[in-house]
Subunit: 178 residues, 2 copies
DNA sequence: TGATGCATGTAATCCGTTACATGATTCA
DNA sequence: TGAATCATGTAACGGATTACATGCATCA
């Protein structure tokens, strides 16, 4: 799945500017399983408009660049439906944190602590964000499911982390890391 | 974190060929939070050898290309220690499946079922793999933690999925998908 | 007989990130 | 005064995937 389809998906829930799409990706329900930067969103939107999958409407603003509000077209909806009508690819999960934990013996206890604390605060952030989404929206079945799924996964991670934190630090080898 | 560091990390647990490293990434504990293909592993290994971070030893074989066994050097261990002595980047999770669930209304009920079944079998695979790792190795503290973490996360996902599956399918809009 | 596993490697290509460029407004 | 928010966009660069090339052995 690429940024094109992602933009189409977000626009299927209502019109938005590139800037708002980015915010949605960072703060909305999408945030915990998708990523995209301006450098990919803006070109994707231009391309989509060129193909008639979305329309653009410029709104003048003083001081700032014109706001470009994008809206999905029927052709866009059809294209979106086609794009998601495939058996989904396997989930991909990348974690530097877990890699580090696997290589504990190369880390100093201070680094261990820093890494664990960082991970914990990241997870707490995630959890807060998910719960916020659930409150702020009147969610449809899909959104509710995704929020439940996300909450369950993040909570489970957090529980293990809190549970094993002390043990992990106790085991940290003080002589490590060259 | 890049393929270089990943290779160094795997080689820190014992010597291996490029082919074995790939297998380790696919089947070992690494598999649920890291990815890499031959196209990136082989060049990385060549580069690492050029810099003296690993040594190579060629083993002749009949029929097949010579097996190149790589082993990490002291310099390599130092480099690995340096590479992982940073506050870890945020975990990244990509899921086409969750994206699809969020856009339910564009999917046919058949696609919904296929997607859910696929996700379930993927998760069951993951769980089996993690449990296998735990048995096959005499794991050190780090490996045990990673296995616990992975098991908790995947189990939680699986539980939600099983729990909500029926509801998700019941809600599937029969007229959807263009 | 045809797929799968073993075994290494290169080149084209893609997709995306990072950094840069611009600039007003608002909040601390 | 300096950071953050709003707002769009381009260009360089990087990093990895995919496909290709080669070829034997084994298993079904």
């Amino acid at each position: 799945m690429n940024v094109r389809t992602l933009c189409l998906g977000i626009l299927s829930t209502g019109e938005a500017t590139g800037y708002e799409i980015k915010k949605d990706i960072e703060e909305g329900l999408f945030s915990h399983f998708i990523d995209a930067s301006f450098g990919s969103i803006y070109p994707a939107l231009t391309q989509l408009a060129g193909e008639g999958l979305v329309t653009v409407r410029a709104e003048e603003q003083s001081g700032k660049p014109d706001k470009k509000v994008y809206a999905i077209t029927e052709k866009g909806r059809a294209s979106l439906a086609r794009a998601i009508s495939v058996v989904p690819g396997r989930d991909k999960y990348k974690s530097e944190f877990l890699f580090q934990m696997l290589l504990q013996q190369y880390m100093t206890p201070e680094m261990m602590r820093a890494a664990i604390d960082k991970q914990q605060s990241d997870l707490e952030d995630d959890l807060a964000r998910i719960r916020e989404c659930r409150c702020s929206e009147q969610p449809h079945a899909g959104a509710r499911f995704v929020a439940d799924y996300g909450e369950a996964v993040v909570s489970a991670a957090l529980a293990v982390l809190k549970d094993k934190k002390a043990e992990l630090l106790r085991n940290a080898t003080p002589q490590a890391a060259e």
